[in-house]
């Protein structure tokens, strides 16, 4: 934000307003009320400066009383009270000034004339304050719309970025090289299993590449991708990896961004199972409550392995993708409890794609 340039423009506007106000007031004082021109300038200049102060001071009550967020009568009451008090003070100061001018220039009628036009000045002060109110509300509204626009742009950029990193993350080179190494070992030990693993790997790659192009997929499809992924990891980890799955049918039809859960499984393998010599389990469960879908991925975890992944990149990406699609309606929580690590997602249950 270019705060200093907005401030400069504001000050320039204020100076122009002050000169105009003073000019008009002085002219009126001379032509309509028959004041001596020196007395008119001496009175109009400080009063104009004060008037600008009054208009500018409206900024604070405007900020604390944003339009649309409080009852209109409250806002009106605040501003009318402020306008009355400020115009009263303004005219009061003017009266004192008029007395000084009389004694300073050796005149006698300035004070008298001032008293005669007092009601007009009350009205002017009152209106000028309200003018200030209008001006500030306009500025705030403009700023708010600009910020909203920036936020919208930013969230689009974030969504795009999350999408890209999700695509990149779908094939982790580590996973790929380790799987190829397993196949390399199996070719002589157990050729049939080597072939099975090649097929499983090909299936997994085909599925992930196809999914990357879609905006949402049913949970059931994501689950079958996870099953493929686990089948491959099971070749590597053998008995060390156990998978548990509890997905009711009414949850399977719900939609979610593709590959949202895959990084969570990868985390569970890399930071959970792979860190425990005797292995462990990964449990995927989902429940649908009316319009909400909650999905959780839990895994065995070694608290002493020291891998604190609550702020990991993978987790952050999942969070960002959720935010990009559902905004505040989605929630992600990750916590370690004794020897279980749990990531829970809650988001709106949608069964057909909404624009």
């Amino acid at each position: 934000m270019d705060g200093s340039s907005t401030r400069k423009t504001g000050l320039a506007a204020l100076a122009i307003a002050a000169v105009l106000f003073a000019g008009i007031l002085a002219t009126l004082l001379v032509t309509n009320w028959g004041l001596d021109w020196r007395a008119a300038i001496a009175l109009a200049a400080p009063m104009s400066a004060l008037a600008q102060g009054i208009a500018w001071s409206a900024r604070y009550p405007c900020r604390t009383n944003p339009l649309g967020r409080r009852e209109p009568w409250r806002i009106a009451l605040t501003h009318i009270t402020a306008a009355l008090v400020l115009s009263y003070l303004w005219v009061g100061i003017g009266r004192i000034l008029a007395q000084w001018i009389d004694s300073g220039f050796g005149l006698t009628h300035t004070y008298k004339q001032f008293l005669a036009m007092q009601t007009h000045l009350y009205a002017a002060g009152f209106c000028y304050y309200l003018l200030g109110v209008a001006f500030h509300y306009m500025v705030f509204a403009q700023k708010a719309s600009q910020e909203a626009q920036e936020r919208a742009l930013e969230s689009v950029a974030r969504a795009r970025e999350a999408e890209l990193s999700a695509l990149k993350a779908q094939i982790n080179p580590h996973f790929l090289y380790n799987s190829l190494n397993s196949i390399s070992a199996l070719t002589s030990i157990d050729p049939t299993r080597a072939r099975e693993m090649c097929v499983a790997l090909a299936d997994f790659l085909r599925l992930t590449l196809g999914m990357g192009e879609k905006r949402v997929i049913p949970l059931g499809e994501e689950v079958s991708l996870l099953e493929k992924y686990c089948a491959i990891e099971k070749v590597r980890f053998g008995d060390r990896l156990t998978i548990k799955e509890e997905i009711p049918d009414d949850a399977k039809v719900c939609l979610l961004p593709p590959l949202l859960l895959q990084p969570l499984f990868e985390n569970a393998v890399v930071h959970g199972i792979a860190q425990i010599p005797e292995g462990g389990w990964i449990r995927l469960s989902a429940t649908r409550h009316a319009d909400r879908l909650s999905v959780s991925v839990e895994n065995s975890w070694d608290p002493e392995a020291g891998s604190s992944r609550r702020n990991g990149v993978g987790l952050k990406n999942v969070q960002r993708r959720l935010e990009a699609r559902y905004g505040n309606a989605a929630n992600l929580q990750a916590q370690a409890e004794d020897d279980v690590f749990r990531v829970s997602l809650v988001f709106p249950a949608e069964t057909e794609e909404k624009k």
Binding site: P173, H174, Y177, N178, L180, N181, S182, I183, S184, A185, L186, S188, I189, V235, R236, F237, G238, A274, Q275, I276, P277, D302, E304, A305, G306, S307, S308
Partner: protein, 254 residues
């Protein structure tokens, strides 16, 4: 070492059974090499190394509990040829290249395997490679050790860095004070300093590295030296340079 010796003893360390089987298979055409043991994790590897005194070590990097670098820190490295075996890991590979340590990248070809084996047989083990530095080089920039591995006799202890109160240099060793106990480790204090997050640990003296969170206050001591008083009441000397470092760090925090 030369090729004249009769049998080579090798140890295969990998947490994946298939990966171990693959190495065993490739070694089967080398009658001069005897596989003393297969280890599924770093702890077993440390134990087996003491027990069998192998000449060759095939060492995976990513393993539960102890990584390959940890294992290297904990074993007697005289006369052991080490070949790291790892899947793609850009940081580990960079570390190997910087320290000229041999490694096999999974999956590897037979030719690549034979070449590594030949080199390990004929090359004197690199004593100048400091395993702690190797481990430090294998971490992405800005990332530091989360725990310190120590071996007392045959027992391996993992000290989470936040539980370390302070470290004291004792010749070639460092004494690590944690939870009222002290552990000795063969490492230089500078090597240890390199592995730890400089925002959490400060070298307050040539011989002392302290956990910033343990420092409660600093008091003058003598004419121009100072002492740091820790939460458990321990008093450590602070040198002038150490005081400047400590102060800069505390100022940065506030």
């Amino acid at each position: 070492m030369s090729g004249s010796r009769q049998k080579w003893k090798a140890l295969i360390v990998d947490d994946e059974e298939l990966a171990r089987k693959l190495l065993r298979e490739m070694l089967s055409s080398h009658p001069e090499i005897e596989i003393a043991a297969e280890c599924g994790n770093g702890m077993e590897a440390v134990k087996a190394t003491t027990e069998y005194k192998p000449d060759l070590l095939f060492l995976d990097v990513q393993m539960p509990k102890l990584t390959g670098f940890d294992v290297l820190e904990l074993i007697e490295r005289d006369n052991v040829g080490v070949i790291f075996v790892t899947a793609y890991d850009q940081y580990a590979m960079k570390a190997f290249e910087v320290h000229a340590v041999d490694y096999l990248l999974k999956p590897f070809s037979r030719e690549r395997f034979e070449a590594a084996l030949e080199r390990a047989k004929h090359q004197k083990p690199k004593r100048e490679v400091d395993p702690a530095e190797l481990g430090a080089a294998a971490r992405p920039a800005g990332q530091y050790a989360e725990r310190i591995v120590v071996k007392d006799g045959t027992k391996v202890t993992l000290i989470p860095v936040m539980k370390l109160d302070y470290a004291e240099a004792l010749d070639d060793y460092v004494s690590l004070a944690t939870e009222g106990k002290k552990h000795l480790k063969q490492q230089t204090i500078s090597g240890l300093e390199l592995a730890l997050d400089p925002r959490l640990f400060v070298r307050i003296h040539r011989s002392y590295l302290v956990n910033l969170e343990r420092v409660t206050r600093i008091e003058p001591y003598g004419k121009d030296s100072k002492v740091a008083i820790l939460t458990n009441g321990v008093r450590l000397p602070v040198s002038r340079a150490g005081y400047a470092r400590l102060k800069a760090l505390l100022d940065e925090k506030n």
